[in-house]
Symmetry: D2
Subunit: 309 residues, 4 copies
């Protein structure tokens, strides 16, 4: 309630990263594709971006990593800009209570994914983008380059190809939605975009910058209106209830900020009115979220008392 | 972020209640027990309690109604005081993604309810209370009387008996937890408490007062520490992700406050740092939350810009 | 098609039992109640009863054991006599595709159990019997004593009490059916009968005799019409598709006779037109059917070519 | 048991077909593809083929129709010849208890379909055939032409294309199996074969002839050994427990013969030791089996007392 910005210093973050090192080795890097399994697990970074664009960082905060499902946050932003409330025809806004890649619920719900942050929901979002954009991946990159003020951002093609080669379950979800009439474009085309989105590489600093407009009623640190204040609030609400798959409740309980995680080990979180933050470390806990990133964010909100609840 | 208390006046609330009247007739009162079905559906009330105890109210804000599942919020408070973090052995903290009385998930999860706000979770909480309290219902009433500063609060025995007579599904859930070793006390005894908790009658004013400590780091308006700031934050987080059953995501999206609903038509919500609010109107939407109470809270947060996200 | 009765001799069965001994130790006796776990696992028996009442037997064929779910076959017989086709209101006739004590399907199917041989279905049958019989357990015993021509048959009260004490899951299923309006009598009363039925003790010879009317168009070996030819055919069809829980397909594939198993280690099977057979050995395979009884019946039908298919 | 072949005459079948006409209009032809929806619903045919090749027939018994899922019976025959018992790695033999195209169970069972007669199972069979055959559809046609002694049999390409165009759910199932490592060949290639198999057109007479080896220990009416007696028995057992999707229990209860249905309106059934029969009429009941074909087979087994149970 009475957040003291002066407490959130580089020194503070550096201490957190140092303490976090003792947790190294307790998780397990994503291993479903070789390109992710090969990463050095002993990396920890964190960056905070205040609403005015000021950055505070520690550790490997400038090392690019695979953003993976964090891309779902930005494709949602793109889609909401294009479709407004029409977007929610065929895509829900409820926590799923199931694994991020569950088919069970998708069938029970007649092909309507529970929310845009589980795989099926993100595939539906990519399908909608495909219908209105000429080159979805390029245009997502353009948005991210602008938001992060980093023209060098790109997708790792080797990772993208590897994702595609291991994408049978995503194909199954897309075809099931198609069977229910909730998917318009060719599955292969959408999977291609989806896998390239996941393969985009960004650093903690990039991601903190790119998401700070969510803490600032939709205004980027450079002053551009990305979304309306209302849309921003609602995206944060979605992150709060659905952003960490079936650990969203736990994340709300322990961290208390809206957030979005990726199997690359990154987690973005937002403290509305003040700052965004991105933590990164490749080792994952059993539900697929970065063990150390979660711990860093828990400590940050606990010590600074910045839970929104 | 910059909440102007001066905007939240009796006049403001009265206008909301007047506007809400045009929605009367669009929902349906709970009808699974005669005692609830018999209520006059054309009632609307709302009360706000600020952290200092000031009350603003409109409509039928002083009419007592059946709190039903809102009792789950207060039994959780009781249980957390008694058990601290030990409470979470055998009770989850995740949104369920299923109806409030689903057996499917309870079996899949080996008798561990997803959270304390679905029926199975609340039954587990009542089981834990039964193990440590001599007279759980009486002691819950004592807590509520103190929090609401209203010694007249009581349970409606006719409603409680009616609930018990229609309690086969709750019995099924309790026995299933027992089969998994996650329920210690006799099922009948716990159901008796549970049904009496649901049958407690309180007004919007009572409930707003009783829950304002959740907006004030655990301190009641009379200055008593009910829970720690930390516990309070976490209860709010649980309400935010799980408080409205399988419409919790939608409530976060549209209202943006932690809340807890009951089939009696009441919804309690909390704006941390500032106030608690209780809206009431008996007609329910298809997922079982009060249609008009939801609308009132949407309008309130929208017009005053008090979403936490 | 051209069954040679002369091949089914005591010598033939004795050889089977001898060969089966090498499988001892590969399964595991039921251990959910102490009374069953305490049994000597090294017992093997088999008895065949021809339609004319002639018995061929080998091994421990006269040792009484707990019939457990085989009782479901005889309560179905009782209920079909009392209710005729009306019995099928609220009870299905399809294989379940789930474990014998699954709650998931029972909820999905709105409280209608898939068939009378899974626990929920047998509980529903007992509920129907309770509505029309003054003393269901006593009357089941009377039926079995007559069919087996053995007035000494009785239920083991220690086993019945032990079942009742571990009966929370059965209570959960009964209450769930009650919640759906598909259960009329007090749950406790029906569970009491159900557990006593399971605790009845019979030998292979008793069970082969008691079920031979199912091989003989409904006529017992003493010439009494127990059911019509038509009802008999249909009960056999139910055993063929549902009699061995979620191993019914495998049993049809490997054994090829309608059958009913129990966790006491017994399996009854019927070769229509010719004989009934009961095999017994306490050690169970992972799906809960007697490992050695299954093997004995496989060998019997394989060597004598008596699959019905 | 004492089947009188002399009772199964053309006159007998003609009477059945006449009686069945009063049921016309009570069902609904398959409408998921235009090519099937366009069929004249007022057609009824039945043909019996005795083990010696003699045919008795009535109604439209020589009109070719789309065999649809009846093809699953013959691809299983092909696959069993090629793989023997190895076939069952990755394919179950249990009734599913779910709709024929359920994804839920396929995920729960880690990509292993319950049996070869539900869609997922048949797709897995086609995948196995693809691995060992140069031209699966052509080779299936060759087998059917030989078995039915009808060189003119062919697949309807318009139907096949239409199936492919509506094949998203089948694609979803194939990709889900691939995700679990239980599908080797390219999904598109296997779907192509699968859809052409379904689009093969045969008459009641063709199908009765083609399946009579299942009633004759694997020997075709022309004397060729198609499968061993043992394999034949087991295929019949699979039809008996799984052949009519989630109405298999009902079919066993009412008809009492192993059978396999298709949404084209045909049902093949086998009376081991004596004859095969195929009934056809396009209108389906709610579970997707021909309403009149089911009734014809019920009447046939009832009047001739030829239930196997």
């Amino acid at each position: 309630m009475t957040f003291k910005r002066s407490a959130l210093t580089e020194h503070f973050l550096t201490d957190l990263v140092e303490e976090a090192k003792q947790l190294l080795g307790q998780g397990k890097t994503a291993d479903y594709i070789p390109a992710l399994a090969a990463i050095d697990p002993n990396q920890i970074g964190i960056a905070v971006c205040f609403n005015d664009g000021d950055i505070v960082q520690a550790g490997a905060a400038q090392t690019p990593f695979s953003i993976q499902s964090i891309s779902k946050l930005f494709t949602l932003v793109q889609a909401l800009k294009l479709y407004q409330d029409e977007l929610w025809q065929g895509i829900g806004r409820e926590p799923s209570g199931h694994r991020f890649n569950s088919m069970v619920q998708l069938e029970t719900d007649h092909g309507v994914p529970r929310n845009p942050f589980i795989n099926a929901g993100a595939l539906a979002i990519c399908d909608r983008l495909q219908s209105r954009l000429s080159a979805p991946t390029f245009q997502l990159l353009e948005l991210l380059r602008k938001l992060a003020d980093n023209p060098a951002l790109h997708a790792n093609n080797q990772v993208a190809r590897s994702e595609l080669a291991h994408g049978s379950r995503n194909a199954a979800m897309a075809y099931l939605m198609k069977a229910f009439g909730n998917f318009s474009n060719p599955v292969e085309q959408v999977l291609h975009s989806y896998c390239h989105h996941c393969a985009i590489e960004m650093s903690c600093v990039d991601l903190a910058k790119a998401s700070v407009f969510l803490a600032n009623k939709g205004i980027s640190f450079s002053g551009e209106a990305i979304l309306s204040a209302d849309q921003t609030t609602r995206i944060n609400a979605l992150m709060a209830t659905c952003g960490l798959y079936d650990a969203s409740g736990e994340f709300a309980y322990e961290v208390g900020l809206p957030g979005k995680s990726g199997v690359g080990g990154g987690i973005v979180a937002v403290y509305p009115g003040h700052f965004s933050v991105c933590a990164w470390s490749p080792e994952l806990n059993p539900v697929g979220n970065s063990l150390i990133s979660t711990w860093l964010l828990e400590q940050l909100t606990d010590r600074l008392e910045v839970s929104i609840y």
